[in-house]
Symmetry: C2
Subunit: 426 residues, 2 copies
Amino acid sequence: MSNVMQFAADAKDASRRLAVLSASVKDEALENIALRLTENKERIFEANRKDLQQAQIDNLEKTLFKRLKYDETKLSDSVAGIRSLRSLSDPLGKTLMHTTLDDGLELYRVTVPIGVIGVIFESRPDALVQIASLCLKSGNAVLLKGGREAINTNKVLSEIIYNAGIEKGLPEGWLSLLTSREDVGAMLTMDKFIDLIIPRGSNAFVQYIMQNTNITVMGHADGVCHTYIDKDADPEMAVKVAIDAKTQYVSVCNTTETILVHKDLLDSFVPVLMDALKEKGVTVYGDDILSDKYGLEKVTEWHHEYLDYKVSMKVVADVYEAVDHINRYGSGHSDCIITGNRETAEIFMNGVDSGSVMWNCSTRFADGFRYGFGAEVGVSTSKLHARGPVGLEGLVTYKYKLMGSGDIVADYADKTKTFKHIRREV
Amino acid sequence: MSNVMQFAADAKDASRRLAVLSASVKDEALENIALRLTENKERIFEANRKDLQQAQIDNLEKTLFKRLKYDETKLSDSVAGIRSLRSLSDPLGKTLMHTTLDDGLELYRVTVPIGVIGVIFESRPDALVQIASLCLKSGNAVLLKGGREAINTNKVLSEIIYNAGIEKGLPEGWLSLLTSREDVGAMLTMDKFIDLIIPRGSNAFVQYIMQNTNITVMGHADGVCHTYIDKDADPEMAVKVAIDAKTQYVSVCNTTETILVHKDLLDSFVPVLMDALKEKGVTVYGDDILSDKYGLEKVTEWHHEYLDYKVSMKVVADVYEAVDHINRYGSGHSDCIITGNRETAEIFMNGVDSGSVMWNCSTRFADGFRYGFGAEVGVSTSKLHARGPVGLEGLVTYKYKLMGSGDIVADYADKTKTFKHIRREV
């Protein structure tokens, strides 16, 4: 058995044990993890310094360097995150449905963990801490594969977290760190052991994962988000929201990449918006109309994620064209309409087939923390299981529990008995 | 564009229109479908006679022949099914969550259709009617691929259903029938247009589908269900339930295929159970202990679905061994414990990682109708999205709607504002 397969098989075994642990054991383990991380902070920082040194030698990009750094501030954020997670109510064992099928034959739908989750994440060591604690809180075993750049930090973090969990009674194998690039390929084949893969990273990377495994993948490849400015928009609000959606943080998935404007705004509003964008250092690419009128470079591909101070802009005839454009060229992530007209807003929000649709507020709000989920696993552009920003809830599934007293189907088949099907309040 | 791709692209367009149709339009279409099917029954029966004749020429198996037959009784069942579906409340537009993020910034999680569903089903023409109406009620466009044996019946049925829908305002392309075997292969590549595939049929077929597409597949390959008889079981109840679970209908997925018995029952209870099984014509295959003691043929593969009057039987030391055996060799479908001990039952129901777990009642209850879901799309052994018997609910997903009044993220990033995150009752 390969290393990875052994880890995965152990994780499956561990997941059976985790599934029946009480919430208090998991919460105590979370508290112990917070404690042990704090106690061992010098060891962590030292490992991180090694990674940072190597990053300097490798001439790593400045933004990556910043993400890689794990210092006092990031540790205390991690610890605060763990404690806030601990304080959340247990997502498991919740009764979602209760039906009395017949006298003494009771059906319950109850939340349970998913099982084994494989997470492949970018270079941020704080992601490791967050993912490990989310999986633990939701009763899942986890296989972690972090960025190569963070290998020393990740090794120390995962060792501390793993042992802190074991000390409080978590089963062996509840967490494993995979370290080589080949391990990712191996993971993708292990549908026997792994129930869900969450890839975080670049568009190309996530797409590669999605296309190379039979395991369910939760995540998003890209975020081509739109802001549509309707003829009934308040111009001041439209500029304010569009600027926020485009420039508040350009390198993330919920940033607006295309601005659609109603044709009636071509002469009045568009110049104002373009000035505001210019002032923020944003380059605008246009459709034929805008390019001709304002001398812009033309957009060649509408499904395009800039993650930069750049934006595509297009004139549309009405809200229906806006909806069609978004459904055709968007990525089903987050899309916004600015309008004072409720009816138009409803056409937009019902028509756009995305995880999040916004009315008069920035696409940048599409995020687990801002949505109040406490913690975020990621954003899903898949429509099944979990969609949009995904919190703890996305890491649980359910099972049916049926409790009887010797009930058999033959009695219902031959009409000796008939079902009552009484829905109970839960 | 190939035929199938055109159908799929049209279905995608249709799905956008279906998503914004009111419930009353869909319910009127359902009523019209019921009406048109009844009016055109002679045409349907004639087409079915053609299929039956061909089946006789092809010397089709008797059980398949019975499933293929679509007569007055089956039509009236279909029509009753459509009308009962119509009377169910709309699964769409339900608010699942409502959070006030801040004053005037309201977040809703609302149910919406999945989009385009591809269903590949066996030879039963009544399955076509049921699936088409389920997809319609849940606002999804549908691509149907039925068994080759039923091609004439399916063509007439789908034409009547499609036109009855169009008459009441459903969008063009809302339903298409695919007819050739190659169409299945083509469907599997169309993740651009198809959101979910539901295969119904043999183990090998469903596994083939699951392994050959990136589209999410909902269904089950096989049903290796277990009944565990604990030392604290009431013997009479144990025999009654085990016999029902094994023999009430042997050729379906929720039939028990393996009986596990506690070691204390080896001399007392096992002979009684074996007599009862023998009386029903069931051949028992045993583990080493049982084979030696009762001269049974040995089980060679524990993950085995007989779908016949045959059963595997094994002696286990306790409930933990039963749980381990089921998690290792079962298919995550439906598993039952018979015991008078509540604690033991809980260990079993929490420990077994299956869609349905039963206590003192037959595994045969695992079914959408019996669970009171009104109608069933199938049973899912996948853990994600929908698990266990799947009703209308399994055909919907959700989106987030965020409504503001010019809110921007920058205000929260620079702490001008802070989130309130007030959960509202829904």
